[in-house]
Structure formats: C-alpha cells, structure tokens
C-alpha cells in the first residue's frame, strides 16, 4: 500500500508543489523579502557553498555550524580589533574612572568635553578646562548627552522601509547609488545636514561634491535663523562668527541676544561676564548690562536695565539707539514712536555706551533680522569695539571652501522634481522646518530618500532607508568651536547597537578606501599636517597623541594675523554711501505678535526623548515637560486668561491648542512659543504642543496677525516652582553696587543676634570641614547645576504627572523670584542645594537615625536605614529633601544601567534622598590623598554643580582652612546664610546679588557727553 502512495506524492509534487513559506512576506512574494533573505549574510562573504559538495565539505560546514551555533545568540561581533584583558592594562584600575577628551556640537555651538568612563562605560561628561569654549563647564545639553547615548529608544537597526535590514544590504545600495551618481556626475543627488563644524566631515562632503560635481549640499538648523549675507551683516555669513570680548566691556547692550546662554561661545561669555559681576571694591570693576527682549531670558534676568519689548520692536529700538548715538546721517530727526519706558532705556543705554567708548559692546540677537545685526555692527565699529571675528573655516585647509545651500533651495528643487536621491544626515526638517508639511510633500517627489540619524524621526518615516547613526561618544570626529579651536572627538565606547558614524556612512557612499571613522579623521589631520599645519619637522604621531589627550588642537589661532586682517578688510558698510540705513518705525502695538524661539531645554526637539532635559525646569517659568504660550500679565488680563488656560492660537488658517503661562517682565501683546515640543515620533508619548504648524518661511521667528481664542478649559502644566514671589523674606539679598560698596552693609552684617541652641555645641573635629558658597551675583540661572547633579548622582526622572504633584527629584533646584513692578520686574535666581546645616533640623526628627552628621560637617543620608517617615523633609526649612514616592529609578531598562555612576547608590522606593555635596567625590579624593600621602589641596574636590557652572558661582571646599577659596568667599561682606534666624547654621551660604543700575543723577549729568 505504501509504494503507490509514495509515487502519487512524487507525481503531485512535480505538478503542483506545496508552497512552503517561511514568513508571510515570502508567501506574498515580496521583493524586499527576497533581497533581505539573500543578503542576510552579505557581509560574511558569498551566499552559497561553492563548487560540488563533497562529504568533507559538508562535514566541515556541519562542524563550523555547530561551533558557531553558540554564538548566534550573541550580538554581532565587533568588526574592529578588541583585545581582551589577558593582562590588566597598566593604569586601568577598576573603580577608578578614566577621562577622555572629546567634543560635541549642537547647532553652531561646540563644547570641548571630558568623558568620564567607568570600565569602558561613559557615565558623565564634564567641560574640558583647556577648551576655550568650555573652560571646564558645559551647557545643559552636554550634560544630557550621556543619557541620549544610553537611550533605549535610539535607532538601533538599519531599516529599509518598515523592514529590518542590514549594513551589508545598505552597502550594496550605496554601491548602486554611487554607480548611478558616477553616470550622471551626481545630478539630482542632494545631501541635507545640520550645521557642520567638523573639518573632516566637510572634507568628506567636499569629496562628494568634487566627485559628483552636480550634487548639492544643503544645511538646515531648526534653532538658527538663517541670515543671508545680503542682509548686510558684515561678519555674519556662515560660517563666520563674531567673538565678543565680554570681559573688556564696561557696558553691554543686548538687543534680544541671549549671549549668556543661547549662542555659540555662551559658556565663555558667561564666564567673562561673571568675572565683571563680583565687585572687588572699586566702582569700575563691575560691568553694566542693558537688555531689550520680548520675554525674560537667562541673559535678561541678569540685566541691570531690562526693557520688555516686542520682538518686532527690537529693530526700531536698535534704530533709536543708533540715532541716539548720533550715527544716523540721513534721518537724524526721525521720531521713532517708542513708548516712554523704551525711550528712557534707549537714552540711558546710549549715554552709557557713549561714555564708555572702546569699552562698550552692542550684541544683536540671533533671531533678529539682518538689519539689527547691521546696526549693531555699525554701532560697535563707531564705538571702537568691533568684535573679533573668526571665519573658522579658513583655519582648516580642506573643506573650508565648501559652501552649502539652504533647505529652502532644496525644497524648491524637490518640488521641481530636480532631486532623485536625498541623503539626510541627522536633521529633522519634516518636524522642525517652517511649513513642515511642504517638506513632507516635497520629499515624496524624491525617488530615493535615505536618512541617517540618532533616532527614527518624523523625517526618517518618510525615507526608504533608515540608517542608525552612532552617537558622538561612539565615534571619531573633529569639531571646531566658535573661536576656531579644533578638537578631536574620540569614541569612548563601541556603538551600542552597531550604529555607524556619519563619516562612515559617507565613506560607504563614496566607496573610499578608508572605511572607519577613526581612519578618516586621522587621515584628514595627517593631510593637514602635510599641508604645514604643524610647522617644519614636527612629528605627527606626537601631535595626534597630544591633541587626543588635551582635547584641543594646539596651534596659533587667536593671533592668526592673516585671518584677522582678512576680517578687517571685509566690506564694513560704514562708508558714507552705505551709511543710509532706513530706520524702521515701530509697528503697531495692538496687534498680537507671535515669537518663536527654540525651547530653553528642548532646543529644536532633538532632545524630546531625553528625560533629564524634559524635566529640567525652564530657567524663568520653571515649566517642565512641555511648553506654553508665554505672555504678559497685561495681555492675559486683556484676553481674560489665567495660567494654564487653554487657548487656540490661529495664524494663516492653521491652529494650535496650547495652555498659556503668564511671565512678569514679558512684552505686551506678544506671545512667545517654544519650538521643539509636541513631537509625534520620539519614543514615548507626545509631550507639549508642536507650535511649528504656525510657522512659515519668511515669518518663522516672529510674525503678526495671530488670533487667540480662549477655549474655556485648563490644560495641565508641570510647573516646578508654583510661587515666584519672595513674600518679603530675606532669601535673596540684592544690593545695588553703591549699597554693596557702602560701609553700612558690612556693619549691619556684623549686627547679628546671638543664636542659642538647647543642644550642646558640636565638637569641632580635626580634619576638613566642608562648606559651599554660592555667588548670586554670578549665577545666571542657566540650570546646568541641576542637570549635572542629576547626571552625577543617578537622580531619577519622575515624569510630568509627578512633577505636577510636587515630586521632582532634583537635589539642587533653581528658585527664580520676581521683584517689583510685574511689567518690569527684577529677576533673581537662587540655586538651592542641601544647606548641610550644622544644627540640622532633619537629623533630630528621624526616628531611625537614617540621617546623621559626619565629622566633616556633612548631613548624611543613610538610604539603607531609611524607612520613609518623611519627617525630615517636613522639618527641613529649605525643602531640599527628595522622596522616592514610587520606584522612580528604572531597574528594568538594561541600557540605562550603563549610564549610572557606579559610585552613587541607586535609590529604591520609599527612601529619602538629598544633596550630599557629592560625597563620592570627596571620598575618592580622600582615598587618593591617603594612598599618595599628599594632603588634600583646595580645589581638588569639585562638586558636580560647581564643576559645570559656567560662571563659577559655586565654590566648594574646606571652611576650616582660612586660606581656601570657600573660606575667603564666606569672609566677605556679601556672605549670608538662608534663614539664619532658625539657627540651623548652614554650611552652604550665599553671596548677595549685586546689580549695577548706576546712579540716575550721574547719568543725567553725563547725558550730554553721551553722544558720539
């Protein structure tokens, strides 16, 4: 019976074979499946066993398969050489972190960094002290980058369409693209990138443009206003950048420029600015800052004279200032219809500028039109204080001459059908460009769209190929900072999921011989060296090693006379013929103005999935997790709005729904909307509101004619600080310079009542006594301390709902208070870490002794002993204690474990925590000192907040040593402690904030001299 059946089966197989299929995709006979399955082992060589199959071959393959079967469960093997520690490398001590110099770029900002790694895991980024743009500090974004590196939502796999693909498959695709580009010399090929500050990247792009002459390169930075050279800004065409000498300026006028926080070089500027804000006895040592801006910025909050002005009124204010300085040659009598406050501000600023010729500075805002830049440039030149400008691309030989086109040009070309292949490198125009829908539609006309980026984004969704890009901490590279200083970016870890750096992706496209980023970067600098960068007879290897170690490529940049000369010879626009600038009239005040700005913490939206930045309070509003329409109290009253009210803002037929937030000192009839929120595709849920739909080209930074409609309900906002009125309490001492210099203040400080305690005096122990001093005069309120502390101390992110309920975990918070007239308030910042009280109220009330005092004066938290009564928090008058109401620390996500600082406990649910003065750093230094036998020196121990502070407002050290910096800071007349009358004896003390508004009478006397 068996035999005929077998025959039957055989017959039927021949006629109609049953279709066995592996996946539904194969069943449907998709082309993509066929490719993918055939290319599965593309990188391993040939697909099939060659030649006739012998018994031996089969056996050897069997053995190999069995041997490799065990490996198949592992991740892909690293392609580069990695030697395991057969012998422990010298200097690599487990438990002792290593630091590597590197650098990061954000828009046009480049920060030199030191990456701290623990056994190969990068855990923290610090500023590189020898890098002129960092000076040892960092921006908030650099602190957050470490979390981005370990973000489990980062793009991890090559995707073709929706399917998973491989780098091998892409290599084949790149080969095909290259062939087609070679055929028609690159016609229709476009490359879209963000701003490129990397010389080797520019060289690679230059190579593409050289090989395929018809190809075009476009750049787009969502958080930057493109200022065409034609705007008349003599120094602003990309990529040249002005370098201001803030430290030399006695009078600084900011025309909506957030130069302390939001522009390239901000950290250095903030350092220079703060160096002139600590009065040292003489009147002249302190600078004076005038700021005119629509909404309080970090810079505006430090101003001595701040003017709340609509964004579209800034050009006329600039014009009025120009006129007031006597520079307008054509229409001197034009009455710019400014209101009284603006006119007064302009008059004072002009008088002050004029009095301080050669020591004054006008800084135009990055989001102001070219006209403001032009006026500012002319004023600076007339005042004899033109900024030093560095066209940094001149400092590198290759790639310097490559010019990029704009995104608008690309869109036009795409719409015209002139683009058939588009490669987008880590930029997201489909979300962040004005008229984003137009980008989306235009892209659909491109035949082949490729995207490489850290994340899958709104743009990547539109692309055929999605290539996961390596983080800068995983790649080699090089970056040049605002002043031309270049750094080598060196990797600290292998790409976590086999992502590739942008340089390698370009190399695949170019088919170049150098395939790894390390080789490309090194080869670039070798060529630079060959071009004479190092001078005669220098050893490249030595240069390379030194550059890697220092994080700065040493060469004569600052004194590059050739460059300086070239800058000076640029058409200055001050000749008589060009002198006519049509001074703008102030626009009508009644019309509602919309102002778009990058979010202070979200930037352009690229950090959407970064919980640290989401939860970092906005420096002024303290808003976390999302955005709001910011407006003034007067405008809100006129529109009948209260904080949190939902409104519909309409412009040009498009609407958004957004809650409002009232900010004192905001310009009337102006609404500021922050970009970078409300992203659809960013890992988690949508946070905040995308305001981008209201923007279109030409009016992408400010516009008029918006309508606003109250919707009648509230939208929840996660506000950290609900109360910004100091209630007449002595929390922030603010003196004018005159007051500070007068003897009375010093005297009153001495008139302290005797404070008695029921408890016996604590014995003073031998050894160091830790203390901290925070200079409120130097604090600009940027919030870097908060996020650095979060990175250092494994502080959990709690989410919007928990912030709303008052459960934010930050160990050092930034209190911002407004004082005086709500229309023109004084704005003050106060970082509040644990005060480490000597008579700590928290310690007496803990029933289990989980918080206790150390001999070195630290108020310590013993997590293991804490049962969570939270009495300590209630009894803390400074409310600096934070409680784990839930299991906030993520024990599950494996990639986040790599980020954590191994020297700091990860706290569990139900445990109190708080600032420890970075006790792990103190102990590490003590151990080092003990091992080496050298005593601890002042400044050897740096807390995370102190290290990151751009203005060095925070000083930490041993108060038992009268020579230490912290003792000296505390000895000054400006020193005070918070809530001194409670006799808690805080170890953290503050230095009073000094403002320098100047003497009104003297101003009036000198008004006449003011004209230039």
């Amino acid at each position: 019976m068996g035999k005929p059946v077998l025959v039957q089966i055989g017959n039927s197989t021949a006629r109609q074979a049953p279709r066995y299929w592996r996946t539904l995709a194969e069943y449907q006979n998709q082309e993509s499946f066929a490719e993918q399955s055939s290319a599965e082992f593309a990188h391993a060589g040939s697909d099939s066993i060659p030649g006739p199959v012998s018994r031996r071959t089969v056996l050897s393959y069997l053995a190999a398969s069995a041997g490799l079967a065990g490996l198949s469960a592992c991740t892909a093997l690293p392609e580069r050489e990695i030697v395991p520690f057969v012998q422990q490398p010298e200097f690599l001590v487990p438990g002792r972190p290593r630091h590597y110099a590197t650098a990061m770029q954000l828009g046009d900002r480049v920060d030199g960094l030191l990456a701290e790694t623990h056994l190969g895991r990068p855990t923290k980024l610090e500023g590189n002290p020898s890098h002129p743009a960092s000076l040892g500090a960092t921006s908030i974004f650099a602190q957050a980058e470490i979390l981005t590196l370990w973000d489990p939502y980062r793009a991890a796999t090559v995707r073709r369409g929706r399917n998973t693909s491989t780098w091998g498959a892409f290599a084949e695709e790149a080969g095909r693209i290259r062939e087609s580009l070679q055929r028609d010399s690159g016609r229709g090929f476009r490359l879209l990138t963000g701003a490129i500050r990397s010389p080797s990247m520019r060289a690679s792009i230059g190579e593409i443009l050289r090989q395929f002459p018809e190809a075009r390169w476009h750049t787009f930075e969502a958080a930057h206003r493109e200022l065409p050279p034609a705007a008349g800004t003599s120094f602003h065409p990309h990529p040249m950048q002005p370098v201001y000498r803030i430290a030399d300026a006695d009078v600084i006028v900011s025309l909506d420029a957030d130069f302390l926080h939001g522009i390239a070089g901000s950290i250095a500027y903030a350092r220079e600015f703060a160096s002139r804000r600590r009065p040292s006895g003489e009147q002249s040592s302190m600078n004076r800052l005038y700021v005119a801006e629509p909404t309080p910025s970090v810079t505006g909050s430090c101003a001595d004279h701040r003017l709340a002005a609509r964004c579209d009124a800034i050009p006329s204010i600039a014009g009025a200032l120009y006129e007031e300085l006597g520079l307008s040659s054509t229409t001197p009598e034009v009455a710019l219809d400014l209101d009284a406050a603006a006119r007064e501000w302009v008059r004072r600023a002009a008088a002050d500028l004029g009095r301080n010729r050669g020591r004054s500075l006008v800084i135009p805002g990055a989001f102001q039109p070219g006209l403001v830049h032009q006026l500012a440039d002319r004023m600076n030149r007339a005042l004899g204080s033109e900024p030093h400008a560095v066209p940094w691309t001149d400092l590198v030989h290759e790639g310097g001459s490559v010019e990029s086109a704009t995104l608008r040009g690309l869109i036009d070309d795409m719409e015209a059908g002139a683009v058939h292949t588009l490669l987008i490198l880590d930029t997201n125009p489909a979300y962040s460009a004005p008229d984003a829908m137009r980008v989306t539609h235009a892209m659909e006309k491109v035949a082949l769209r490729l995207h490489a980026g850290l994340y899958e984004t709104e743009t990547s969704r539109l692309c055929h190929w999605n290539l996961p890009m390596a983080h800068f901490l995983e790649s080699w590279g090089d970056l040049c900072a605002y002043d031309g200083t270049c750094s080598i970016v060196q990797p600290t870890i292998r790409p976590l999921n086999g992502q590739k750096p942008a340089l390698e992706i370009l190399a695949m496209l170019l088919g170049s011989l150098l395939t790894t980023d390390g080789e490309i970067v090194r080869a670039y600098w070798q060529r630079e060296a060959a071009n004479g960068l190092l001078g005669e007879g220098a050893n490249f290897e030595e240069f390379w090693r030194r550059s890697l170690r220092d994080g700065v490529i040493r060469r004569g940049i600052q004194g590059n006379s050739e460059v300086d000369a070239r800058f000076k010879n640029l058409p200055s626009g001050t000749s008589a013929a060009e002198g006519r600038i049509a001074l703008p009239r102030k626009p009508s005040e009644s019309e509602l103005e919309l102002v778009f700005r990058p979010d202070p913490t979200m930037y352009d939206g690229r950090y959407t999935n970064n919980g640290w930045l989401q939860e970092l309070p906005n420096p002024i509003t303290s808003l976390t997790w999302g955005n709001a329409a910011i407006l003034s109290a007067g405008t809100a009253r006129r529109l009948g709005l209260e904080n949190g009210d939902a409104v519909e803002i309409g412009l040009g037929g498009k609407q958004i729904e957004i809650p409002v937030w009232i900010v004192p000192g905001h310009a009337e009839n102006s609404i500021v909307l922050h970009l970078g929120n409300g992203r659809e595709r960013a890992g988690g849920e949508r946070v905040g509101v995308d305001v981008n739909p209201l923007r279109s080209w030409g009016t992408e930074w400010n516009t008029r004619g918006a309508t606003i409609r109250k919707l009648g309900y509230q939208l929840p906002l996660a506000i950290r600080q609900q109360h910004q009125n100091m209630e007449n309490r002595d929390l922030i001492r603010s003196w004018t310079l005159d007051e500070a210099l007068s003897k009375e203040k010093t005297a009153s400080a001495a008139l302290k009542p005797e404070l008695l305690s029921l408890y016996p005096e604590r014995p003073i122990h031998e050894g160091p006594q830790w203390g901290m001093s925070i200079d409120l005069s130097a604090c600009i309120g940027c919030g870097a301390c908060t996020i650095a502390c979060q990175a250092e101390n494994n502080i959990s992110v709690v989410g919007a709902e928990e912030v709303r309920r008052g459960r934010i975990m930050h160990w050092i918070r930034l209190d911002t208070y407004f004082e005086g007239d709500p229309a023109a308030p004084g704005i003050y910042h106060q970082p509040v870490p644990c005060m480490q009280c000597e008579n700590a109220p928290c310690e007496v009330v803990c029933p289990v002794g989980a918080t206790a005092h150390s001999e070195e004066g630290l108020n310590q938290m013993v997590y293991n002993r804490c049962v969570g009564t939270r009495y300590c928090s209630n009894n803390c008058p400074y409310k600096v204690r934070r409680f784990n109401f839930f299991q906030y620390a993520d024990y599950e996500t494996s990639s986040l474990k790599g980020q954590r600082n191994p020297d700091v406990s990860v706290r569990s649910r139900g445990v109190m925590e708080k600032c420890t003065y970075c006790v792990q750093r103190i102990e590490a230094a003590k151990i080092r000192s003990k091992v080496s036998g050298e005593p601890l020196t002042d400044g050897q121990i740096v807390t995370a907040c102190q290290q990151v502070c751009p203005t060095q407002a925070i000083v930490f050290g041993n108060i038992a040593d009268p020579g230490s910096k912290v003792s000296q800071a505390k000895a000054g007349a400006r020193n005070y402690t918070l809530l001194e009358e409670l006799n808690t004896r805080p170890r953290t003390s503050y230095l009073a904030c000094i403002r320098n508004p100047g003497d009104t009478l003297a101003d009036a006397r000198n008004a006449k001299e003011g004209s230039v």
Partner: protein, 456 residues
C-alpha cells in the same frame, strides 16, 4: 467597685431608668448578645464589611505601588495618613477619659457608657495604629522604630517624637485593652451563667477567667480596676500630648508652638465625645437602651463638648494672637495664609464646626434635643478632622521658602483608606455589640435603686 452615692432623683435626672430592676439589667443587656441576629445588624455589618474590603484593597495597592499613590509630596510630605492617625487617636480619648478619670472622680453617670466607649477607644486606636505603618515609605521595616536588640546594634533615634509616638500609642493600646478586658470579667461570668449550651458555657467560662463572684474576688477586682484606672489616667493626657509633639518639635510655622499639648488633649476629648454621641444615639435608639443611657448622660456629654470646644477655640485664638505678638513673619504669614490662602475653606470649616457649633450647647434645650445633638456631634467630628488637615497640610504647604511651596490634595486612595478605616471601626463595633455585653451589667446593677427602697 466604684463607690456609688445615691442621689436624690428629684435633684437631677437619674442615670438609670425609673423602672429598671436587677433582672432587667442582665436580661436586657445580655439579651442583646443571646438573641438571634437582628436583620438590621446584618445589614449594618455587611455595609461596614464592604468598607473593610475597600480598606484591604487600598492597602494592598499601597504596598504594591508605594506611597506615591497618595497625594503626599514635597513640601507636604504628610497628608491624610497623619491627619487620620491624629484624628483616630483623638477619638479614642473619650473612652479613656470616661473610664479612668470619671471613675476616679466618682462620676457615676459614666457607668452605663464606659464599656462602650472603651471599646470605641480600642477600635479607634486600632484604626489609628495602622496609619503610621501604612504611611512609611518602606512599611516592611516598621519594626525599626522599636528598640529591639538588632544584630547590627542599631537603636532607634530617641530624640525623634515619632519614636515617642511608638511608645505612647503602644502603651495606650495595651492599657486600653487591659482596662476593657478587666471590666468585662464579671460580665463574662454572667454570660457564662446565662449560657444554655456547653460550648457557650466553655467559651464564656474561659473568658471569665474563673470568676465566681465571691467577696474576695470583688475586693481584688475593685482594687485592680482602680489601679488600672490610675494607670490609664495619665495616658489621657500623655498620648495626645506626645502626638502633638510630632508637630511642636518640628520647626514648621503652624507646628512649632508650646500650646500644642493642652490644645491637642482638649481637641482629642472634644472629638472623642463627639464620636461617642454620634455612635451612642443610634445604638440607644435601635437597642432601646433609653433606660440605661438617659437624657442625663447626653446632657453631660453635651456639656463636655461645650467645655472642650471652648478650650479648642481658645487654642485657635492664642495661636493667632501669638503669631501677631511674636512678630515672627513666618508665623504671621502662616495665620494669614490659613485664613486667606488657597485653603481658606479649611480654616472656615474649622471655625464653623469646632468653635461655632458647640455654642448651641449653652442652651439646655439644645443639649437634650437628640437631632441637634447628633448633627452637632457629626459636625464636630468633621471639624476635628479638618482641623488636623489644617495643622498638617496647610502649615506644610507654605513654610519658609516660597520657591518650594506647593499644593496638596488627597487622591482616591487617600479617601479609600480613610473610608476603609471607618469600615474597620464600624465592623469591629458591630462585632462588639453583637458578641459582648455592650454595657457593664455588673456596674449597672449597682445603679439600680435598691428593692427595699422601692418597696417603701
């Protein structure tokens, strides 16, 4: 045994009904226990039990997720749990006061309500006692608050008032239980004697600890009872004083005040008597105990409510005065913030319920008007809970640094836990009413006018 003086019944209303005989006492009070379960009891207990289940659900979820399911935050790190704790502990005070102090003061009218109020004390302390544990971040380590010989030689931190709380509340619970049980012994014997079946005789017999009613027994018993009363007396003052130190040791404006101990004790008695009235009026009605709990009892309790209410009102007044008189800006702000701040309604409720409501008891007519009495007692119960809310939450939400101020509101889990303890309390009370003679038969028998006198 309490010394009983026969008062002229014409002078004051009697503390026991005119026609009550010895037999009536036993039969009517023990009858409540021996009679078949009334339908009303089943319904009442069923509803209370549902709330016990709510409590169990809320606590289970709390243990699973963490304290974050409640509304607590920074700055308001204590919320409902502490409010409930203080409130329940306060309620217990009436029982101890009636049992111990009024006994020592020879207030014989206490006799008919002491058993009941002692039980109320016990259950209130049980309800209160769960909160300090539930509110811990890591409740599984609650035993670290006890001074036990730990293998790591770690002791609690004795300067902390929370530590004192542990001793105060556990002592209070223990003494209340003993006092209640000792008072029950003669009645257990009566129950044993009345029991018909062997099983019940065994059960009651064991509980009666071999009581035979001999003169010797009575002598020892009276001494023991008096001694326990003496032990319990300081607890009336100490427990809530120590609970109040949780606050007054703290430096928070609105907490840091020397007035707290007396003010808290008065408040505790105030709320405790209010709760006694709230509970006893329906029981008196449903179990027809008008002969044992007479108008005179209610009148006396209303007077106590008036007096303690006035003390509490004085406390509020002094707090406000001292805030102004001290010149301390934080204290001043605290008072102004209570009255005019975002929690103004809390302050308004406190004044209406705790200060204004008891003023009706100046009138004798109101004191003996049962609906008025019941309504007032409910208002005082609410008022005293809200007062603790004001002290805990409103003081914390705006303390020293405006930059750290916040708001607080209870979540659904806060409310569930509070309602759950109502259920727990009532369920225990129902079991008590059904299972144990709720009035002291032994003591009531002594109040019954002597038969000889009656025969005259």
């Amino acid at each position: 045994m309490p010394v009983l003086r026969q008062l002229d019944p014409l002078e004051r209303p009697s503390v026991i009904g005119e026609n009550v005989r010895y037999d009536d006492v036993n039969l009517r009070i023990a009858g409540i226990v021996t009679a078949p379960t009334p339908k009303g009891w089943l319904i009442g207990f069923g509803v209370a039990f549902l709330f016990v289940m709510l409590f169990m659900a809320a606590v289970t979820y709390l243990f699973a997720r963490g304290i974050g399911i409640w509304g607590v935050n920074v700055p308001v790190a204590w919320g409902f749990a502490i409010v409930n704790f203080v409130w329940w502990i306060g309620i217990g005070h009436a029982g101890t006061l009636i049992s111990a102090i009024l006994l020592l003061l020879h207030q014989e009218w206490r006799t008919s309500i002491n058993r009941f109020t002692e039980a109320m004390t016990l259950f209130a302390v049980a309800c209160a006692g769960v909160f300090p544990i539930l509110h811990l971040g890591r409740p599984w380590f609650f035993y670290w608050l006890f001074p036990y010989p730990s293998e790591m030689q770690i002791w609690p931190q004795f300067r902390s008032p929370l530590m004192w709380d542990v001793f105060a509340v556990s002592t209070y619970g223990t003494v209340s239980l003993l006092f209640w049980y000792v008072g029950l012994i003669p009645d257990f014997a009566t129950m044993r004697d009345l029991a018909r079946t062997r099983g019940k005789q065994m059960l009651w017999g064991v509980l009666a600890l071999g009581w035979r009613g001999s003169a010797h027994h009575w002598k020892q018993y009276q001494m023991a009872y008096l001694l326990l009363a003496g032990l319990a007396t300081p607890l009336v003052v100490s427990v809530h004083s120590i609970v109040s130190l949780d606050f007054s040791v703290g430096i928070v404006p609105g907490w840091h005040s020397t007035i707290f101990p007396p003010y808290f004790v008065a408040g505790a008695i105030f709320s405790g008597f209010a709760m006694v009235v709230t509970l006893i009026l329906p029981i008196r009605h449903f179990y027809h105990l008008e002969d044992f709990i007479t108008i005179r009892h209610l009148d006396n309790m209303a007077k106590i409510l008036l007096v303690t209410g006035l003390i509490v009102g004085y406390g509020y007044l002094m707090e406000t005065f001292i805030a102004w008189y001290s010149g301390n800006i934080f204290e001043r702000f605290m008072v102004l913030n209570r009255i005019l701040g975002p929690y103004w309604w809390v302050w308004a409720l406190v004044v209406i319920c705790n200060v204004m409501t008891p003023q009706v008891f100046w009138s004798k007519r109101m004191r003996v008007n049962l609906p008025v009495l019941f309504a007032a007692s409910l208002a005082i119960n609410v008022g005293m809970w809200v007062e603790r809310y004001m002290i805990v939450v409103v003081s914390l939400h705006r303390d020293f640094m405006p930059g750290a101020w916040g708001m607080y509101s209870g979540t659904i889990w806060d409310w569930s836990t509070l309602l759950g303890t109502f259920g727990l309390f009532l369920a225990l009370l129902f079991l008590f009413i059904r299972g144990v003679p709720m009035l002291s038969m032994a003591e009531l028998r002594e109040l019954v006018p002597s038969p000889r006198k009656e025969r005259k």
